[in-house]
Subunit: 193 residues, 2 copies
């Protein structure tokens, strides 16, 4: 509860964030400790293991960047298509912020069940946003007839995946703006023709 403890915990999260987002793959516990300026063991006094630290880091980013608030804005849109656009805009703006953490967390999925669950959980939350946008379009009678709400949600979820962002922006060198424009078009075409 003391302010020094809070400070160290926050410093750890900020540092972890920075390291992960610096594109440096293979960020080890010792790397983080060194960057924070504490011993590796002190890290374990604050976070019991690497998975917990990564998860805490994503939550930290969320609160700093107010992702919930940003996604919530899309609910204000009048029409289904506007809502879809707003949701995509919010989500797509969020991806670059969490990309480094996302890579690290996904890399742990294979070996760490807790990490897998944490990442899954976040993706399910995003999926709820997809489902809401799909429902709004359906309510407007604009959902393509051959799509159910579920399959449409799955499809939108797939289109908006972090992996797809990585492929176009990181691997193919697209600008964030090009990526967003293309993905907006693609998503609208996929759902409502």
């Amino acid at each position: 509860m003391s302010s020094t403890q809070t400070d160290t915990k926050t410093r750890i999260l900020d540092t972890t964030w920075k390291l992960l987002e610096s594109g440096n793959k293979n960020v080890r516990m010792s790397d983080i400790a060194k960057a924070v300026g504490i011993s590796r063991q002190a890290l374990y006094l604050h976070y019991p293991n690497r998975a917990d630290l990564l998860i805490a880091t994503t939550r930290h980013i969320d609160s700093v960047k107010d992702i919930d608030g940003r996604l919530a804005e899309s609910r204000a849109a009048k029409s289904g298509k506007d809502r879809l656009s707003a949701f995509i805009r919010a989500w797509v703006g969020y991806i670059p912020e969490i990309h480094g953490t996302s890579v690290a967390l996904r890399a742990m999925q294979a070996t760490d069940a807790e990490a897998a669950a944490a990442w899954n959980d976040r993706m399910q939350a995003m999926r709820h946003g997809c489902a809401a946008a799909v429902k709004a379009i359906k309510d407007d009678g604009l959902l393509l007839p051959h799509l159910t709400e579920d399959t449409a949600t799955d499809l939108l979820w797939m289109i908006l995946s972090v992996e797809n962002w990585e492929r176009l922006v990181r691997d193919c060198g697209w600008s964030q703006a090009d990526y967003e424009a293309t993905i907006q078009t693609l998503a609208h075409k996929a759902l409502s023709g």
Copy 2:
């Protein structure tokens, strides 16, 4: 050159394939050795490291399943759109075969440069197929005007990624047939409206 050596090498590849495709994450060198019926060290007499073994396994799968031949068939199509359909059909049928190996290889990307290069190489080969299909559509004058050949290739490449297959088929429980139908529609819409 002796037939016993070839037999063991082949048995190793077949076993590795089977283990990876059984959905069993975290296939260790010792697991493979045990399944083959040889010592862990004997494995290293045939393949110097895990990355090499995984790469050899994908090449083995390729030759057994004749992926090159199957993808080549798409070149016979008359129209650009037929060509795209044929290419997607061939590739999409291939994904389930290599999925397990793909997961293992991608999991190594973070730590092993050789594994990353191998996976990259295979994806680039697939990308060439995408580029050829895009060119065929463009030659028919059916490529959407706002798309260049390069961006269209990137987009198709993204749509056909193994990760997207995983999301819909494995995570969302789609059948292979549903997946293929949806992805065919999506790809055609994305490129030529």
